[in-house]
Amino acid sequence: MTDEDFCALYEAHARRLWAYVTRAIRDGAAAEDIVQEAFARVFRAKAMETEDEEHRRRYLYTVATNLIRRRYRGLVEVPFEERAGHSPTSSPENAMAVTQALSGLTRIERQTLWLAYVEGWSWREVGRLLGYREGSIRQVGVRARRRFRELFGESRP
């Protein structure tokens, strides 16, 4: 991959990838590390030299998801209130409500919702990325959506 290709890829996807990782792990600083590592791996990967941008984008999300899994394997999630300072706030109106609602979900549920509804991935792709069968991840999505709606309704201003 040339330097120009890397810079173009970074400009196009770094922020969105960071948003995904931040919402998944609720830690902006750690998310930055993961994004950096994901881009470094894409840069190192020989196979990525001939791939198009869409493949590189998917590879980035795959690497970031694997890094999240590896980093937080076996760790119990810290309640949101204790780490609120590390979670960047977004828009003034619904941001806190969304943040609160997402924090009530498990990491897998947050990743599922984000990939399916923000990134527009199919259930099959989300399932493959997160290590679930399509039917199972669909169930996770339904459950997460229901839970998100409840929590979002509670915390919306």
Partner: protein, 112 residues
């Protein structure tokens, strides 16, 4: 897509957009520099692995030559000299392996 899903998508997308705007990440040039450093480290680590394997292979080869030499001496020497010949060549083989392979083993790159 149901209304429920549509509302969820809108909420999440609005959140994503505001997060993207608020993101304070290193510039592309800084990220490129870090990626290059990371690639360099990766290459060095690979070279170190290859050097380790070459050391070990060399040690194995030396040991094999010495054992073959010992075997030839043992079969050629009078029966009374067998224990001495075997011991001498055996010790030499162990020392050769130690000198060549141990430093390489100790200096092997750590796997993270």
């Amino acid at each position: 897509m149901t209304d429920d899903e549509r509302e969820l998508r809108l909420s999440l997308k609005a959140d994503a957009e505001s997060l993207v705007r608020a993101a304070d990440l290193p510039s592309a040039q800084q990220a490129l520099w870090r990626a290059k450093v990371s690639r360099l480290r990766d290459r060095r680590s690979r070279v170190a692995h290859i050097v380790t394997y070459l050391h070990c292979a060399a040690a194995g080869l030396v040991a094999a030559v010495l054992i073959a030499f010992a075997w030839r001496n043992v079969t050629a020497a009078p029966a009374a000299d067998h224990p001495m010949t075997v011991a001498t060549v055996g010790i030499t083989a162990v020392l050769a392996i130690g000198v060549l392979a141990l430093p390489a083993f100790l200096a092997r790159p750590s796997r993270r």
